[in-house]
């Protein structure tokens, strides 16, 4: 039942184009690459020499009974063997180094590019698929190199060499021996074409398994709570089965190819012997030649046998390369202009001018929204859920670009700003607190080296997070589990606050951040926020009027439109949407029970909370 996102159709790309792009990664390491290339023909030469030496040995020396000459030939043979070993090894090492270095670079670029891609990309592509791209797919390319795929070039050299040498030793015999070569080539080509398609299907189905695993394992709690393990298992089984089915076809091809090669190998030798027998009988061909030919044929078929496996590895590598470059080619749509605006000081004036925005086509989430915020003003944005409040923060940060209208920060259109500079001046506390695997300190600083431990501690103290942090076994060094699951929701909130504070932005956006924390903690946060909000432009997106009523102005959103603007008092007097919302929220305040609260004054709260610094 989980649909996942359908794999985009891959446009057919020629191998050559892809390889050329891969070459750009190989180029920095071309010294090693050239070394490998040089060793290849040398290895080939050593391989080709051996059967010829055999022929010489048999015809020239054994036949003549020349033991001394035989020893000499034996020595040459030994040299050829040694040469083959050495050159092959050097070539392999060099290739391997080239591969590892260039692939590490490729991975690095992929990751960096991934970080720049627009939010819409991440909404379309499940996490699992992206993980596959960077790991399994790049590994497929790795496998191709380490399985010695480069030796395909050496193989081609060797094969051509064999054909040439055989033809030059005895033309007719060679022709007979190689008679089955054309059908062999046809079989190979057929295999090549067919497996390309099947391999793409295989990779796609593997990615689907990855995506499914990613989501199901992340949400395992929900699965267990609703006892839906059997259903999800059934779905997994299906995806797993699809993957297996895709492989069946490739199995047929591989098995068939291997067997055909074996058969052709045996039959070719047989044919040669049959023809050769006649020739030897007539004294036209020496025995040694026959032996050499048998040797050559054996050497001929070794790489052919390996061809099937090497080819399939190559194919999956090619498909992987296609997908990897497809990812690299995904355009970064939110970019900085040629001459970006990079101001030293940011005052935090915001202007929205007739902004229209939709995530999809004409499904407008923001309709003709216009307002302005003076530097240092504290604005509250209210409205029913789905009214467009969170969207305002997303477009302000340029996570998405708006379709119509303009947004200005400090009088300059945000599209003119350097994106990173813009974002570095806007702090966001999101509703969904995301914490990284790492320690508490890193989650506050997010890896910034310019913040000292004291800076972090100060930020934590401000939001009264320090108390609970110090109670953790390792304090600031306490390692958090995936998504911060070893902290309570309230603690996670406070950490994200500390993070925002340490960032010290000119504009602060709080997206319903204070609503899932207990009242006592909320007071502490409110206090810290009050201090933080001074000299800073703040947009608070919340439901709770307790946080709203202190705002300088309130923006009332309704179904994507900005309906009312004003202070709390002004809006109450307007008797409009705000007034109505307010009424509905506080009907229960008529209750007599609330009289109890009158007995305790505000000063009591402050007295009881010594941790609150003087405002």
């Amino acid at each position: 039942m989980i649909h996942g996102h359908q794999e985009e159709a891959l446009t057919k790309t020629y191998d050559v184009v892809l390889l050329r792009r891969l070459w750009r990664y190989i180029r920095p390491y071309r010294a090693h690459f050239i070394l490998a290339l040089v060793c290849l023909p040398l290895t080939s030469a050593c391989i080709l020499a051996q059967p010829y030496l055999l022929k010489l040995g048999i015809d020239g020396y054994i036949g003549e009974g020349d033991a001394e000459g035989l020893t000499r030939i034996g020595l040459f043979f030994a040299v050829a063997l040694l040469g083959e070993f050495l050159f092959f090894y050097i070539q392999f090492q060099a290739t391997m180094l080239v591969a590892q270095h260039s692939l590490a670079d490729l991975r690095r670029d992929l990751f960096a590019h991934l970080q720049e891609l627009p939010s819409s990309f991440f909404e379309r592509n499940p996490v699992g698929r992206l993980v596959t791209r960077l790991t399994t797919d790049v590994d497929a390319i790795n496998e191709a190199f380490s399985a010695g795929t480069l030796t395909i070039f050496m193989d081609i050299l060797t094969l051509s060499g064999i054909v040439v040498i055989m033809l030059s030793i005895d033309f007719h015999l060679a022709l007979v021996t190689l008679a089955l070569l054309p059908p062999l080539l046809i079989a190979l080509n057929f295999f090549r074409v067919r497996t390309r398609v099947t391999y793409r299907a295989i990779r796609e189905r593997l990615a689907r398994i990855n995506a499914f695993l990613q989501e199901t394992l992340s949400g395992i709690m929900v699965v267990q709570l609703f006892a839906q393990e059997p259903k999800l298992f059934a779905e997994f089984e299906q995806r797993n089965g699809d993957y297996r089915a895709a492989n069946h076809l490739s199995n047929i091809y591989e098995a068939s190819l291997f067997s055909i090669v074996e058969a052709i190998s045996a039959i070719s030798i047989a044919l040669m012997l049959w023809y050769g027998a006649g020739q030897v009988g007539q004294g036209l061909v020496a025995l040694g030649t026959l032996v050499a030919f048998i040797e050559y044929m054996q050497k001929f078929f070794v790489p052919i046998r390996e061809f099937a496996t090497k080819y399939t590895t190559m194919q999956s590598a090619m498909t992987a390369i296609e997908r990897v470059f497809q990812l690299l080619d995904t355009p970064v749509t939110i970019t900085s202009p040629e001459q970006p605006h990079r101001p030293q000081q940011v005052t935090g004036r915001i202007v929205f001018e007739h902004v229209w925005f939709a995530y999809k086509e004409e499904d407008w989430v923001l309709r003709d929204v216009s307002f302005s915020v003076a530097p240092g003003e504290n604005i509250a944005i209210v409205g029913a859920t789905g009214a467009g409040k969170t969207t305002i923060s997303k477009v302000l940060n340029r996570f998405h670009d708006i379709q119509r209208g303009r947004i200005l920060v400090d009088g300059v259109d945000i599209r003119q700003w350097h994106v990173k500079v813009l974002r570095s001046r806007i702090g966001v506390v999101l509703q969904d607190v995301f914490l990284f695997v790492g320690d508490v300190a890193t989650n506050i600083s997010l890896g910034r080296t310019d913040l000292s431990q004291a800076d972090l501690a100060r930020a934590a103290r401000h939001v009264n997070a320090e108390r609970f942090i110090q109670q953790l076994p390792d304090g600031y060094g306490e390692r958090l589990h995936e998504r911060g699951s070893n902290l309570s929701a309230g603690q996670r909130q406070l950490l994200s606050f500390a993070r925002a504070l340490a960032y010290d932005p000119a504009i602060l956006i709080l997206d319903e951040a204070t609503s899932s924390v207990d009242p006592e903690t909320e007071v502490l946060i409110q206090d810290a926020l009050t201090k933080l909000m001074r000299d800073r432009t703040t947009l608070v997106i919340a439901h709770r009027f307790s946080t709203i009523q202190n705002a300088d102005r309130i923006l009332v959103m309704h179904k994507g439109k900005l309906r009312e603007v004003g202070t709390h008092q002004e809006l109450i007097e307007q008797r409009g949407i705000y007034w109505r919302l307010y009424q509905l929220q506080y009907v229960h305040l008529q209750d007599a029970d609330m009289q109890d609260a009158h007995k305790i004054g505000v000063s009591d709260i402050r007295r009881r909370e010594p941790a609150l610094e003087k405002a």
């Binding site: 960096a112 695997v437 709260i605």
Partner: protein, 566 residues
């Protein structure tokens, strides 16, 4: 295998000048056998490959099923990316071992035995000399094997680490971008990337020794045959035909020998992968399914917590280790001596400061974790006695994190009961006050939610998870801060709807965790937790009168609301 023998025959025939027809017959025989062999071989290879894939399929299924039984504490320790790597990459390595590995394990000894016996029959000394390098090679290989295994494990672990990092970065991309911390992430990735590269190089260094070694060994054999055998032929002790045949047999060994080198690295990889998979197998589910069934029972919904203690099971510092046998608990208990009962059909609110143990408490009810001491009962019976499926079918649970799947709204709401019809879904959505908004969407209930419910607002996500929980019309409902992102009016509507059911036969026992006095004040019982203990218990009025922790907690809130009124 008979082909080399026939070849020998043919070559001898040529050498000794036998008539063409005789040789021709041998040749034809060779061709015939080759053809048959082709078919048989294709078939058997195909079968073995398929077996390999089937085993892979089975293994993956079983591993997934096993993973589903493991408890939350396992998932808190174990990054999802690493698990994915094991289920995909490691299983593939095992499959390679089984498929190609088996083929070669079957063929290779056969070839060796056959070839060796024939060669020994022809000339024992020559055989010994020709095969002398092989034992040396085997010893060398054995020594290298251990290194190979170690390095393979490193590489696979490195791959898993990369996987986890990518997984995390992608999941947290919004935070990274908002705080402009791409450089930091790149740095973290670079470190893992370099390490992975180094490990791959180390592995390849050893792996690259195998092919040339194998080729060298068979080449040396041939050299020996040529020189020593040749000398013998010159001396007249051996016929040329025999020599040639000898070479042919040596050739038989060449290919399997090379394959063996390659086979060894596959073998090591497979073994390393098996080890990693085994680690998952060894992990026992901490929550053992109850013996009883109970799936047909109608329960009233009376819940009892009897002197419950709880602390989280911990193994090491969050690192995955293989034996799950020693379930050490953290030093600090999260819950201590929790003792209270909720009569059937009543609502109990659980409140307390952040970190006081509220979520942990309710997570014990569906046995996401098991109590350390004490017991929890439903209708007087210990919940450990029921089957998990039955127990969980009685509880509609709304967790704190509103996790949704990337499927249609329809599917998400009907998650617990896929067979339910559209009316049922609408009813549940109505209870959660989200039906009108869904109908406003272009595709209504058919709308596909982005991964993790991304294109919905916080309040919408919460209400959807609420409808999911309410759909099954369970006798017990748990709301863990389920309405925090929902405005007060909607919250009252929802709670009112649940409240209205109270007087009916569909009365539900509701456990609600909330920070809002409005959600809590109408509860039949309020349990106040403080630092893992029950600090106070009672109705709203009685607690306010007491002037203790509860009053403190809600004072501030009441005050705020009052201030807002001014």
């Amino acid at each position: 295998m008979s082909i080399p023998w026939l070849l020998k025959h043919a070559v001898e025939g040529i050498e000794h000048g036998r008539p063409l027809s005789e040789i021709a017959r041998t040749i034809l025989l060779i061709i015939g056998i080759a053809a048959v062999q082709c078919v048989v071989r294709a078939f058997s290879r195909f079968l073995i490959f398929n077996v390999g894939r089937d085993i892979e399929y089975q293994l993956r299924n079983e591993l997934f099923a096993h993973l589903q039984t493991l408890s939350l504490s396992y998932y808190q320790r174990q990054p999802v990316g690493d698990l994915m790597s094991r289920l995909v990459n490691d299983i593939t390595a095992v499959r390679l071992l089984l498929g190609l590995g088996i083929i070669n394990i079957l063929n290779t000894p056969l070839y060796y035995v056959y070839a060796m016996s024939v060669m020994l029959a022809m000339d024992p000394w020559l055989t010994v000399l020709a095969l002398a390098p092989y034992p040396f090679m085997l010893m060398l290989v054995k020594k290298m094997s251990r290194q190979l295994m170690e390095r393979t494990l490193n590489v696979q672990a490195g791959l898993a680490d990369l996987s986890s990092r990518v997984q995390e970065s992608v999941s947290g991309i919004h935070v990274i971008r908002a705080y402009v911390r791409e450089a930091w992430q790149n740095g973290e990735f670079a470190a893992l990337n370099s390490r992975f590269k180094a490990e791959n190089i180390a592995l390849a260094r050893i792996r690259s020794l195998f092919p040339p070694l194998m080729k060298g060994v068979s080449g040396t054999g041939l050299l020996v045959v040529l020189w020593y055998g040749g000398t013998k032929v010159i001396a007249g002790e051996l016929s040329l035909g025999d020599l040639v045949a000898f070479m042919g047999y040596l050739h038989l060994l060449a290919w399997p020998t090379m394959a063996m080198g390659w086979l060894i690295s596959i073998f090591q990889r497979g073994r390393a992968a098996m080890q990693r998979l085994d680690a998952i197998w060894q992990t026992q589910p901490e929550i053992v399914d109850g013996q009883g069934d109970g799936i047909d029972r109608t329960i009233r919904g009376e819940i009892g917590f009897h002197h419950v203690d709880f602390s989280y099971p911990v193994n090491g510092t969050g690192q995955f280790d293989q034996s799950n046998q020693s379930r050490q608990r953290t030093a600090k208990p999260v819950l201590r001596d929790i003792n209270f009962t909720v009569p059937a059909g009543k609502t109990v609110a659980i409140v307390g400061r952040m970190g006081s143990g509220k979520t942990t408490l309710v997570n014990l009810l569906p046995r996401l974790f098991d109590v350390t001491n004490g017991s929890i009962t439903i209708d007087g019976q210990d919940i450990r006695e029921f089957s998990l499926a039955a127990l969980r079918s009685w509880i509609g649970f709304v967790p704190q994190d509103p996790f949704l799947f990337s499927t249609r709204i329809q599917d998400n709401i009907a998650f617990a009961l896929p067979e339910v019809d559209a009316d049922g879904v609408r009813w549940a959505a109505g209870l959660a006050s989200v039906d009108r908004e869904i109908e406003d969407f272009a595709k209504g209930y058919e709308t596909v939610i982005g991964e993790r419910g991304m294109t919905l607002s916080g309040g919408q996500k919460q209400r959807l998870t609420l409808s999911r929980a309410l759909l099954a019309d369970t006798p017990i409902v748990v709301l863990d801060d389920a309405l925090s992102s929902v405005d007060t009016k909607t919250e009252r509507d929802i709670l009112g709807a649940l409240h209205a059911l109270r007087s009916s036969t569909k009365a539900k026992t509701v456990l609600v965790i909330s920070h809002r006095v409005s959600a809590v004040r109408d509860a039949d019982l309020i349990v106040v937790l403080d630092d893992g203990r029950v600090a106070e218990m009672g109705s709203h009025d009685s607690l306010v009168a007491r002037g203790g922790v509860y009053t403190e907690l809600f004072q501030q809130q009441a005050l705020e609301e009052e201030l807002a009124e001014l």
